[in-house]
Symmetry: D3
Subunit: 327 residues, 6 copies
Amino acid sequence: MKEFYVQDAPRFENMVITSYFCVSQMQKRDKKTGGQYLALTLSDKTGALEARMWDDFAEAVATCTEGGYAKVQGQISNYKGKWQITLTKMRNAAESEVDTADFQAVSEFPVAQMDAELRAIVDNFKDADLKRLVLSFLDDEEIGPAFRVAPAAKMLHHAWISGLLEHVLTLVKVCLATAPFYPEVNTDLLVTGAILHDIGKVKELSWKTNFTYTLEGQMIGHISIAQGLLREKVKELAPFPERLRILVEHMILSHHGKYEFGSPKLPMTPEAMLLSALDDLEAKFAAMRREFAAAESSGKAADETTEWVRSMDRPLFNSQRWLADEQ
Amino acid sequence: MKEFYVQDAPRFENMVITSYFCVSQMQKRDKKTGGQYLALTLSDKTGALEARMWDDFAEAVATCTEGGYAKVQGQISNYKGKWQITLTKMRNAAESEVDTADFQAVSEFPVAQMDAELRAIVDNFKDADLKRLVLSFLDDEEIGPAFRVAPAAKMLHHAWISGLLEHVLTLVKVCLATAPFYPEVNTDLLVTGAILHDIGKVKELSWKTNFTYTLEGQMIGHISIAQGLLREKVKELAPFPERLRILVEHMILSHHGKYEFGSPKLPMTPEAMLLSALDDLEAKFAAMRREFAAAESSGKAADETTEWVRSMDRPLFNSQRWLADEQ
Amino acid sequence: MKEFYVQDAPRFENMVITSYFCVSQMQKRDKKTGGQYLALTLSDKTGALEARMWDDFAEAVATCTEGGYAKVQGQISNYKGKWQITLTKMRNAAESEVDTADFQAVSEFPVAQMDAELRAIVDNFKDADLKRLVLSFLDDEEIGPAFRVAPAAKMLHHAWISGLLEHVLTLVKVCLATAPFYPEVNTDLLVTGAILHDIGKVKELSWKTNFTYTLEGQMIGHISIAQGLLREKVKELAPFPERLRILVEHMILSHHGKYEFGSPKLPMTPEAMLLSALDDLEAKFAAMRREFAAAESSGKAADETTEWVRSMDRPLFNSQRWLADEQ
Amino acid sequence: MKEFYVQDAPRFENMVITSYFCVSQMQKRDKKTGGQYLALTLSDKTGALEARMWDDFAEAVATCTEGGYAKVQGQISNYKGKWQITLTKMRNAAESEVDTADFQAVSEFPVAQMDAELRAIVDNFKDADLKRLVLSFLDDEEIGPAFRVAPAAKMLHHAWISGLLEHVLTLVKVCLATAPFYPEVNTDLLVTGAILHDIGKVKELSWKTNFTYTLEGQMIGHISIAQGLLREKVKELAPFPERLRILVEHMILSHHGKYEFGSPKLPMTPEAMLLSALDDLEAKFAAMRREFAAAESSGKAADETTEWVRSMDRPLFNSQRWLADEQ
Amino acid sequence: MKEFYVQDAPRFENMVITSYFCVSQMQKRDKKTGGQYLALTLSDKTGALEARMWDDFAEAVATCTEGGYAKVQGQISNYKGKWQITLTKMRNAAESEVDTADFQAVSEFPVAQMDAELRAIVDNFKDADLKRLVLSFLDDEEIGPAFRVAPAAKMLHHAWISGLLEHVLTLVKVCLATAPFYPEVNTDLLVTGAILHDIGKVKELSWKTNFTYTLEGQMIGHISIAQGLLREKVKELAPFPERLRILVEHMILSHHGKYEFGSPKLPMTPEAMLLSALDDLEAKFAAMRREFAAAESSGKAADETTEWVRSMDRPLFNSQRWLADEQ
Amino acid sequence: MKEFYVQDAPRFENMVITSYFCVSQMQKRDKKTGGQYLALTLSDKTGALEARMWDDFAEAVATCTEGGYAKVQGQISNYKGKWQITLTKMRNAAESEVDTADFQAVSEFPVAQMDAELRAIVDNFKDADLKRLVLSFLDDEEIGPAFRVAPAAKMLHHAWISGLLEHVLTLVKVCLATAPFYPEVNTDLLVTGAILHDIGKVKELSWKTNFTYTLEGQMIGHISIAQGLLREKVKELAPFPERLRILVEHMILSHHGKYEFGSPKLPMTPEAMLLSALDDLEAKFAAMRREFAAAESSGKAADETTEWVRSMDRPLFNSQRWLADEQ
């Protein structure tokens, strides 16, 4: 464990610390008074910190690279409300020196436990073909492990290691809770869709040291990537019922629910309709959580709304906090 | 019970029947060959039937009125695929002659049972104020009984007697099933919203003999009517916590989820967001059921989609039926 | 009267002034060179001024609060084209020390005169019920006075004390001027709508020291607030003709003219249609005035358009000024 | 004057009449029983009537043409709620036999009087150049007379002879009534725009015997036609102030107020903004009048709304009639 | 060759013909006068004809099926402007009795010649991988022949046998003509996209006896079907350059150019952009041709526009015909 | 030729240069430390450079003006990644001192050659009237020369001297290449449209020292300006065939292809449809070129997309560069 995390800055104001960081950005800039300095962004799993190194940065420049790790010494301060660090020492750090888990946000739930929960649900499938299909993904040598560590997004909901698995598991549970009210829905089929709908994200996103979109992600998109993976698995599992293949494929293609969100088809079956609605609900609550946290940490009072949320075209309001506040 | 219902027509082809109907429409028209005839629409809770009376309709015209009941005798036939009846006798029927329950579609669930289920849920509220509020509606001398018989819509989802209560009860159950996954949600508040969100329909709709919109329904709308009723109840219950009043009012105003659906506000709180999403899901599945039934009764095969559904801009597809069909 | 107003800054460049201000914002910040300083926004009815206090601000911090008044001494200067003040003294000022009228923009028309004009118009109503209704608002102990001082908006049109009354009075006059051309319009009804359409703003906005939205304003909105107030008044005035109640309520609910502007109903009656169109016209001309003034004060020439006006998706052009410029 | 007009049909039920009509449509069709008959639409200024000629129509076919006049004899009857005439005689009628004024709907206001009113307003212009410009149109040998007889539309508002002049005159008056409330507006400029904004309709529409769009109307449109006419007039009037030319041209180009209504520019000046809003108001009230009349003549009660009005996406409601109905 | 085609009806008015047809629809209906008759739609490659069989249709009903062939005898007549046939004899016809080419519209260009032209272009590819890829489709035992006979659509552009090949070949030629003006474009890549973009139609459409959508076509769509086929081919051709695979896949996914047309991605590369634009142009001109032909065959004059074309929200106008008409 | 161009900055880092520039902006600002300095933007045809003059700028202020030329001496440096110049000397420069060609971006193709190419194409017109029409523009004393030097836009495609001619010539060539595939298209008419469609830009834009919109450009727009010019030319050329006039006018009015882009009419003829589509294609490829260049010069790798392109709502991707990068 590191001795200092970005989120600890307030407790270390004006103190000198020594710690490891990921070098997210590094750039030489001109001083107003002549000469140059080094401007950096250092990050770990708790956030990012602006850094400045005013002198003697030759070694830093020579040995460190963006996307790599560094060991630094410097003083924490607050400038215009933002925390920063003024470096006195900086050198490259080998991956062996650090605990890489320190440098990326991870799900608060243990992967093994989430995986076990998901597999237990799949084990209960009545439909042997769908079970075979889902397991062919979970047990795939490449896709399986990636599915267990991938984030669910670059910046929005569940943007942390194993966020995809966390998102899928919650969605599966909500599916299981609501399906009984809709007798038109085949539960195994629905859960299959919930598990596979975002499987394309294992190739749409890259999560080496930061979370970014791959080129294939940008040009093909996780919906069509997932469809390609499905077709390949179905071929391997042959004979596989053609009707199930079409129904699962339809759920994947339509789960964004609207053409303008990149779904080439709109949900036509009960399972596709329910999956799409519950996935949207998950996304909205994830956004709500982020906004509530941001509002609270920026010092907003209980009777104030969040900032305007552009993706929803409205501000949000934390009713629980307001009611609690009254008592 | 009537001896003949509209839905029985196929079993009575070319037979003469005598029965009671609601006179939905009545109009004199010119025969091509000179003279006039009487064109009518007769209905009961199972549907509507075109009727023609070619001669001797003076008494019928003199005594019967649109919206009233009539006793008729006539022969059932099929013309261009539609069932119709050619009348030989027709006279007005007093309300005392008929069982009014024969003339309007009613929920398949007993009202008393649904009401009891709903009240049991309200009894479990932890929040005494919200319980008081909901009960003030359920126990209101005018609103309460209306709420238990009103349909939920003129033609779309739950367009039958007690359809509103049926819709509300299902929605409340889905709310209770999903709320545990969203800790931001106050369950009592959510359920209050689910019970009251459509309460304005008791004045938006009229369900005397047919289901129609009242003028107030067209010019004010059930959202604003509900808001007015809420304000009146809150005044009667004073002192009532202002914060709860605002949060419930917000759920009512925002439950359609989009401005273009007549919501003057978009959902901002976790409860409003969840209520709006689940209410939308209910409406979509109700539409899906209607479309699947229509497709099946029009003779569509299991591998055919329904007709194009304009409100959703797509056809739908009954996956369960297709999978069952294979086996 | 204050000895110095924000708008006087150019005449006082590099001079030391002493005056009272409203403390809109106050924040401690770190100096680049170590230590802290105080960054403030000071305002009066003529605008807002950035302030800096570099040293000895302990008393200021200890006694002053955001939203309160302060007496300050400092030097006016211009930094990057913006006026600012460097404070040497600052202390809290009691409300009794200041003339609160100095701190908020107010309508250029006397309230008493506008009120009298409006009441004279209401006195001429032929319809006694509508007259009763309007007077019940104007004479209400809480709503009446609020209606006479409220601004019409937080930032857009008529964002000054008594701006609501000013907006309403102009709108009423334009209604009276145009109604004769539309015989379908009931003038008393139209004017009632014009007076009451924005009455909900007395609770949607707060204008203590700045203009802001109340939480109820954000979650309920002035349209639905107004509808609630109307229902309460109608109850008090009972018996009140139901038809007039519905028609007035419809005008309030539909006056924004479009669902996406928060109207739950579209204008269906001649009065609602005309009111909505003229209210929109008022808003557009108010925006135009602001833009023309801004263009002129930013030094734009007579043959230049204003900046791009996002709400209208176009720039505007002052034709009068251009024609005058030619002569 | 004709002895029988289309609107008189109810008074002549089952009677034989002889009268002149315009032959709007004429077509031979097959009888079900073999042989042919003649199906026609006959019209005059009060409406259109379906006609059938079952036998002996050789002369009719030989001498009559669509768009021409005919003298007919036949019996009036009502079939499925629609009035029709069964012809026994029909022959071509020369234009000299008829009073062409009988065959097209005309404004209820005398042309000479409307023209005089308009000219009186123009005479009051303070701006000599704008007066010259407007008069150059009114006094133009081709445009002037066409402007005085043209309809304002093919089917929608003011679709009758001299409807354009009637529309323009009303619009000018509403402009004069509202302009005083908007000091940013140059009244002469505004009125010039009101008079010329639709001048392109003299070439967009054809009103020989029916009202139709010309090909130029369809491919160029009245906005661009008007702009072309303006440019030609300005050239003839040279020297004409360039600034006035641009401001008038801008009003013409922007008067539809929205790109999707065919305006290549949005209103940027006070005059263009006001003109566009008032022109839209005129169109909406004209539509409202048509809908109220249609509702009343189709037997709708005072408390019923009109049919759904597609262009406005809502039904309308005649508040005056409802209020009168109560008393 | 059949002795009578649907398009020959005008030449056979009132004559009795004997010929083979495809039975598109067949339904028993009630006569007004009691009893039943047979209502049918008969079709061949030149169009469809309504048919009625009033008596003695027991054999017809017993032996014929929708989608099969029939030999009929009947009299041609015109009823309300539509041609129809009154049958006196009808029996099932074996596929061996007919020339199936008589029953579906086919491209006016020989398949072999179009195929040869296309292959010649592919032979000229500089890029060996893309050549391999395209040939793997053209030479595929299942896809290849289907690609050569499939229509391009159910009803819109190129809705005839081999219409897909015809559309593709034209598009390829326009691509080759325009590519030289856009140096950013890789011609082989562009042409590959043009050949493969619609390849999914071989499974989206069915063209046994009529043209319809398959269920897979409705639920997956030709874009995603094509993507699936591409992935399979690329696997078979391994090793295949990943970059080319992504670029071709991107062209397929984005060729509809807009999300609302079912493209899950928008064109990002020069080739995707150009392909999408030229494909759209092809579709528009195909629509224009249909509209011009329909206008001419419905008797419209050279100076009249076509009917309103809903998909383009405007009428069209045949400029060539109008100019020719003048001379 | 200047000794230093803006684009040469990297080669002159920290060196002192002397050169001529256009003074795009000039402003006095306050130093933080008291006193003032001069902030300027200096530009030439290769770009713009921020400049600062800290002392002794009295002469500069006294003699130089925005939009004029200046001779300066100063040192090149890089501040926060942007190049700038610190001036030590600055004085006004007469137009005679400079080569004005140094100060505006110009087409890379010689004007005379482009003009000759265009005229050769016009010479080949079969239609003498269209040839007369086009030449009347090219040979016009005012329009002709302006057409040869005007840019095609203020900032977007072909924003350089003679950019309009360059755009038109390319468009004409693409028209000639594609027209043969669309037999509905009259090539002379199409090319006439291609040459004249943007002719209004000669009055919409001003290109004295920078490129800006004229007031007429903003209030009338190049589409309507072009239509006005066409009408004047047609009058001069009388007799000119009315049909050709309408068809050319229609192409001009509809070439933006969508109402929201300011076209008052949508393309209805084959020529208007093709012209509009190819013009759009030109604009898109021009944007693509800019974005590819910007991405490359900002150091993006071959496998990265460009920045998000707002006008197209997507990023773009240079496929050629990526494929080349692999080899």
